[in-house]
Symmetry: C3
Subunit: 204 residues, 3 copies
């Protein structure tokens, strides 16, 4: 129940971030909806393809699609106001990252993946939608350029893996791990933490 | 029989559109063939990955590959003349979009997907090749920027879904739905229909 | 044993090429590692998705990941020196291309794919990682622009297919075919062989 609520929040957050980026790229309303949907659903589709779940779960649950499409339409209609909510969007994006990375790991473990593979698949679930968004909009994926992002997803996935190895119940572990991801992201944004760049790498 | 003929026409059209775009991006002859193949076969490969059909159908039918490669080579050799055939290419591209979106939906339904999932997978089959082409050539996918395109594919997929729910025979339904997609695309091009862009979205 | 050693060399070479490109694009240390991993592991993941091997083999072997990540970190720390080793990197990249294209074909044949499908999947395994690298870094994939590259991979895959049809033992055939790929690539670089570009294709 708590997990479903968190997952919906994550979907809405990712759909909003994709739609906002698409509005900025001057796409039409359908393009905005498609990029919003791709951002929200992309990570889960990649997860299901890697795990061999056919057809992908998100393509079988129409409420997910409806929620994401409605979110994108709201962003399209009210984008100046939404853009002002930058902090709220960043928080929601962090929640989405945390939920998808940790729930992805839990789902992979339940599908019989090893702890090691499950952590990688979980991290991919968390960052996949954003990478798809940036590829569609012809940008170098933000997760490769910005504050500790994929590292936060990997930390959450690893926590779920540790909990699994210790035989802890997966539900609470997922919630705690997701909260850790959100905390890392918020701290990274607040403190402007960044991983180091190679010195003298120039313009190549 | 009719479907196979239409499918070949769609493959040729998509291969030609990919090859033309690759010639414009100054790729060499192998690059032109690869982009042409990717555009023609990409949607079907994505469809089979989502449905869990291994290995993808198009990688098992060498005539498909031969037809697409030959098309790309013809475009490479005669590209100024082909470029003048812009209207014919747009018509053929619309036929390809219609055939792939509706046949993709029919194949997904035959694989046991729900109507809802089948429509999404069908739409993805129709637009997937063009998205892959634009990603390879580093352009924002045309389907996100241009006249009613993905919407036309979704309309065709939905018609197949309705026909399936009404227990109509899949063959004729697919042909009719593909024709509807072609008609929508041609009208959109002729009337310069476009979905609205958000006001004041600037250059972001 | 020989094959495992060659495969490790290929992973290291691809990881290094991805990491170097990421350093040039001014990514941070995590981005460099991610692009290095994607380049090294991408082809194998695409291969396993196409063959329906779940979850992908490379996500189940942590030593592969560790070797690739360590390579990327070494490149990040010593990139000016590594960049000077341009010829060594090109040689290693050619070895990686040869090993992945031919081993990918052998794995696909072992999974029951037809010779024809196996050759295409093998070529895709060889070039897939580099395409993913270039997409992430927003460049037109080098394999579409440069000296005989995908053609060399396809030649190696076809040799494995011929060996399979002649019932030759797969191990030695793979090694010989990989060596042929390396030789073609080295000759193409040395002689500056390039496939022809369409005349008068302009800037489109």
């Amino acid at each position: 129940m708590l997990l479903t609520a968190l997952e919906l929040l994550g979907l809405v957050a990712f759909a909003a971030s994709g739609a906002l980026a698409a509005v900025r790229a001057r796409l039409d309303v359908f393009g905005v909806v498609v990029v919003g949907l791709t951002t929200a659903l992309g990570g889960g589709i990649i997860r299901d393809v890697l795990l061999g779940i056919h057809p992908p779960t998100t393509l079988r649950n129409w409420p997910y699609l409806a929620v994401c499409a409605a979110t994108a339409l709201v962003v399209f209609a009210f984008h100046p106001q939404v853009a002002k909510l930058r902090r709220a969007v960043l928080l929601a994006d962090a929640i989405g990252l945390g939920v998808f990375a940790t729930a992805g790991t839990t789902i992979a473990l339940a599908s019989g993946a090893t702890v090691y593979a499950a952590c990688l698949i979980g991290m991919t679930t968390g960052i996949g939608g954003g990478v798809a968004r940036d590829l569609l909009l012809r940008e170098i994926p933000l997760v490769l350029r910005k504050e500790i992002y994929a590292m936060a997803a990997l930390a959450g996935a690893a926590l779920v893996g540790v909990g699994h190895a210790l035989l802890l119940p997966p539900g609470p572990v997922t919630v705690v791990a997701a909260a850790v991801v959100v905390a890392i992201r918020m701290l990274a944004l607040w403190r402007r933490w960044n991983a180091p760049v190679a010195r003298g790498s120039g313009d190549g």
